[in-house]
Amino acid sequence: MNSTPTVLTTNAIDQSEVFRVDVTGPRSAAAQGQKPITTARPTVAKQATGEVTHPVKIRTKNVDFFYGDNQVLFDVSLDIPEKSVTAFIGPSGCGKSTFLRMLNRMNDIIDGTRHTGDVLLEGSDVYDSSVDVVLLRKRVGMVFQKSTPFPKSIFDNIAYGPKVAGLRNKAKLNEIVETSLKRAALWDEVKDRLNSSAMALSGGQQQRLCIARTLATDPDVILMDEPASALDPASTARVEDLIFELKKNYTIVIVTHNMQQAARVSQRTAFFFQGVLVETGDTRALFTNPTEKQTEDYITGRFG
């Protein structure tokens, strides 16, 4: 199903760029088994302390971004580690969504935008003219703040991605739909009504449907823009559990306004302020002991 584009295959990356990430999350994740890495990149070492080192999945270098003449990102350089959750926090309008949408070129479809700097996925430039943006977006999926089910059946929503990628085999589609829904923890709730409209699901179910729909395209990276901000606490908890579960196999980047959420689900956090990446680091360290004054003010609620 996945014809990997030549331009995006793994390049040798800088061996020194390896993160140390604490995977001992709040939900007793100590016993997680790491999936073997099949690429030619540096081997991930599991250490006795429960710390795992993660290679860089996405690296941005000196990214500036403009809506027309209005510059909203200033020289953002950030490394995002593989198979872990990276959270973007910062006050409204600071450019979190814009930066997130840079990563799978969603800003391309907005007229009058431009950028400078590089975005590298496994070492290759995603803005290179030879990159097929359709294939890029299959590898770097996105979940939006407002759930956006298509006005189709639940089955057709999930099968959409594989279908546009050219998959016709009914049995294979059935399998993908089932595994995607199971991974998104929605299967039990909808398995008896796959052919009814997705619009009839509750808000929380719709959001998990959108996550399942993204999983069905078999991405490596999932970008989430405030995925739980429109949900009630119970649905939010389910989505957070899901994110925690998914990071075993996927690289996840999540934008959130909820500091507790960032602390709960993420291993690394990046704090943005007025289009500038102020501080980035291990989530626990950043929340307990921020180095920058602005970060401290923000996380202690002094402005926001």
Binding site: R137, K138, T148, F150, P151, Y160, V164, M199, C210
Partner: protein, 341 residues
């Protein structure tokens, strides 16, 4: 109020109050006047519709006083169409010859001609109209849009009689004749259903494209972004997400356009001729319901004759057909609005 005259301060108060009342009632009168005027304007269309229905009914179905005494004392019968012709004949007879000595009143040839021309028009107008709507809403950059929209509006503004002559003096001799007669060996009539269908199809393109474009544009942007984020090309987004999401609106625009094609008169009268026959050959002349009405109206049918009455029966049939289609399209459109509140 009754105690107002006891003290001077009360008196002023009373005066103020009463003047307040006077102006209030003046305002209310003005309000009433405006409201009545607006109501009358709205009522014009309702009254017109009722009037048309009444005329159609009394001439086609049932006349309350069919016997009338003329100025010289002679008695004329003025019976409605269906008081003289049975509904069974009207529906099942295959000949339509009200002007001949041997009269037959089967609506089938006229319905057949109307459906053939509308069918050809739909075959041409619907896909082209929809494709231009998709182009305008999904593909066109603002500059091309600004160029195409006025052209479509001009197309919509051309008088239908011009379309009729365009069919007669261009489409038939320069397109249909060379293609079907010289190349393929069919016989192409001077008047034919195909040329009429083609120009009516062109005529309904602006209607379909502007109505469909509106519904396509009303599909939320978030839905398009979600589709792009799943690895869609622009074509996937347009055909698999946007068009299906707007489907009921598109169908409604199709129905409205088809009912316009069914009711189209001038172009059809000029281009298709006046041969009321049941045929499957689009290269022959046919008569439609509308062209029949035109030809009888401008001809010398005697007032009160069955020939004159027949146009009301045809008109009623046409009225019912377009009414049903408009009702269906309204219904479909309402369903679409419910999906995206």
């Amino acid at each position: 109020m009754s105690t107002a005259s006891t003290s001077s301060s009360d008196a002023t108060l009373s005066k103020a109050t009463s003047s307040l009342h006077r102006s209030a009632s003046l305002v209310r009168l003005k309000e009433w006047g405006i409201r009545s005027l607006l109501f009358l304007c709205a009522a014009v269309s309702i009254l017109t519709t009722l009037g048309i229905v009444a005329v159609l009914f009394s001439n086609a179905i049932y006349d309350v006083s069919p016997r009338q005494v003329g100025p010289n004392g002679e008695v004329r019968t003025n019976e409605a169409f269906f008081q003289q012709v049975s509904l069974t004949e009207f529906v099942f007879e295959t000949r339509w010859t009200p002007g001949y000595t041997e009269k037959h009143f089967g609506i089938m040839p006229l319905v057949c001609g109307t459906l053939m021309i509308s069918g050809i028009a739909a075959l041409i107008g619907l896909p082209i109209g929809l494709c231009s709507a998709i182009y305008l809403s999904e593909y066109a950059v603002p500059r091309t849009r600004a160029l195409i929209k006025p052209v479509l509006e001009i197309l919509a503004g051309i008088p239908t009689v011009v379309y009729g002559y365009f069919a007669l003096v261009f489409v038939t001799p320069y397109i249909l004749k060379p293609l079907f007669q010289d190349l393929l060996g069919f016989n192409v009539g001077v008047f034919n259903a195909a040329s009429a269908g083609i120009v009516v199809g062109i005529m309904i393109i602006p209607m379909i494209s502007s109505l469909s474009e509106d519904v396509l544009r009303s599909v939320p942007r978030s839905l398009r972004e979600a589709a792009y984020a799943l690895g869609s090309t622009k074509f996937d987004v347009s055909t698999r997400v946007v068009v299906p999401a707007a489907l009921s609106g598109i169908i409604a625009s199709f129905l409205l356009a088809i009912s316009r094609a069914v009711g189209e008169t001038m172009a059809v009268t000029i281009a298709a001729g006046q041969t009321a026959i049941v045929t499957a050959d689009p290269l022959r002349s046919v008569a439609t319901m509308t062209s029949y009405i035109v030809n009888v109206s401008k001809g010398d049918a005697v007032i009160g004759s069955i020939e004159e009455k027949s146009i009301y029966a045809v008109g009623l049939t046409l009225f019912l057909m377009t009414l049903v289609m408009n009702i269906i399209s309204q219904f479909v459109l309402r369903r679409f609005r419910e999906v995206y509140n």
